[in-house]
């Protein structure tokens, strides 16, 4: 289980992450989403013990991660871009991982490589971005981690590889009850993959819930008004788009009170339309701007 409690991380006077708390129960997948620069990678670096939090704590099964090799040995981390020694060959990295992680299972790595087909004699700096990502995934899955932390794991991958990675992650959770924390901009994938989602805004938690929970909270309403109307005084509206007499209203506070207010403003018809996670993200970001 991952417990991020009241995490704050500053770079000088800039607060990158502000009092964020996330709990990821064992055997679940938790997604972190947000615009660029909202603190996703900073949180991930705190979870993997790269950064020491300024305030708060990151616990894995109740133990602090920072400067704790025992816990770090149970974490697999796939960064958003290659961070391995550039002149190493694939087989050198395997050897390196074998030396570092006692739990490294070379057989498992070879099985994965039978699918991903990476040339073992190729140097890291000669691999494409997608290949490097595959290598990182294979190495980190071969260490049989209890916790797998992934930062943009599907970036640079083709459609087939994306599918393979997604299937692999689901298999890890199903077979070994691996706990996964994942940050990605590919929200349609996260929507299918994650049990829970945390949406960040300016280093703070904007929404935190199950995917269905967030979808239930943020709604898109299609309303028809016979005459032009000003909705700026209605509370809980994130965004309004008007096409003629049809208004598309995005709200994160869909209640009967809101419905009453809209009818009072002259709405003839009010209809609820389903939203994808990606749409929710876009409208939430628009509101912020």
């Amino acid at each position: 289980m991952i417990e991020i409690k009241d995490l704050t991380k500053c770079y000088g006077s800039f607060k990158a992450v502000d009092n964020v708390s996330i709990t990821v129960p064992k055997g679940t997948i938790h997604g972190i989403i947000g615009e660029n620069g909202v603190g996703k990678t900073t949180i991930i670096h705190c979870v993997t013990g790269v950064y020491k939090p300024n305030e708060g704590v990151v616990l894995i099964d109740g133990e602090d991660v920072y400067d704790n090799p025992k816990i770090k040995a149970r974490i697999g981390y796939v960064a958003d871009s290659n961070s391995y020694f550039p002149t190493y060959r694939v087989k050198d990295m395997v050897k390196f991982y074998k030396g570092i992680y006692q739990s490294f299972d070379e057989e498992s790595f070879n099985e994965l490589n039978a699918v991903f087909a990476l040339p073992e004699d190729r140097r890291i700096n000669q691999l494409s971005k997608g290949m490097q990502m595959r290598l990182a995934l294979m190495l980190n899955i071969a260490i049989k981690p209890d916790v797998l932390v992934l930062d943009e794991p599907t970036s640079g991958l083709d459609a087939l590889a994306k599918k393979q990675v997604t299937d692999l992650l689901i298999k890890e959770v199903a077979e070994r009850e691996c706990t996964i924390l994942i940050s990605s901009h590919h929200l349609s994938e996260l929507e299918k993959l994650c049990d829970d989602i945390t949406m960040l805004q300016n280093g703070k938690v904007k929404y935190q819930s199950s995917v269905e929970g967030i979808k239930a909270k943020v709604k898109k309403l299609q309303a028809v008004f016979s005459s032009p109307v000003d909705l700026s005084d209605v509370e809980g509206i994130l965004n309004v788009e008007q096409i003629g007499s049809i208004y598309h209203i995005i709200t994160d506070n869909y209640t009967q009170a809101l419905e009453r207010q809209l009818y009072a403003k002259g709405a003839d018809i009010l209809e609820e339309i389903g939203m994808s996670l990606e749409e929710i993200f876009i409208y939430s970001s628009k509101e912020q701007r």
Binding site: V50, D67, S83, P86, I100
Partner: protein, 312 residues
Amino acid sequence: MNSLYKNYIKNSLILMGGASLFSIFLNIMDIMSERASAVNGQEKWTSYMTEWSQWAGTIFIIIFAAIGLNTFLHYKDVNKKTGVFIKQLPVKYGNDFLFKTISSLIFIGVTLTVLCVIGWVMYSPYFAEGENYFKQMWDTAYMTFAVMVLFYSIGLLSQQIIGIPILAIAAPFAAFFGMLGSFIGYESMPYAIRELPIFRIAIDLLGKFFELICFYGKIYPEETLFIIWSIPFFVLAAILNSKIDYSNMGKLFLFRWCRPVAYVIGSTMFAFSMQVVVNGFETRGTAAIIITFILSWLAGFKIIQYFVRRFD
């Protein structure tokens, strides 16, 4: 030893190998030119031996240079994308402690260079006359500082590269006390014992052995004793090393004072240096000297703080 350190040791060996080959090449060229001008066999022999001992000395310098370069490479990695990978690895890597002390060392290195330059300027003909008081102060402070830096550097660099902290901690102390003990002990040893045939033979034989394995020129009896003295320290260190978990070593008392020491000594030396430089241009009254000293001390402190924070 974990894979991470093996990786850097491998790098070191590559660097050392390359540098050694280059050094051998230069020496062969030198020997050939010496031989060409040598008149007789004795001169040829002398030229061989001179070049050989020069080469042995070069190897030592190469080793230290390789360690330094490798430390640089490691920190270059750490401060780039690879650093994220290195820091998330489950290795005995007291990054909190190491970043702070190494950054302090970088500062010390920079300061040392500055001090050397200032020292060179001070002893230039422009300063030949007068200012003896400051020269004296300079000499004392500079020597103390240099010795301290030397001991710290040996320990910290060994730890960084070899990854065996206790051995590294023991090294400078073993060297320091071993050296003192050997010289004082040998000098104050009764003449009768020193001249005992068995003692002399043993020391001579060991000396020859050390000469052989160290690729070093003549090793004197004091130095032989010093090496013998140091061995138990290293063995003890190696045993302790296998028993200790270093994951929290940054919190140990022993390391806590590395940072304040670097701050205080670094700032004070910076202040001394500035004092000397400013005074070189214009002789001032006591109040001006005190103010310059305080301001320079604060400036030195801020510089160290900058480096420490940069790597924090």
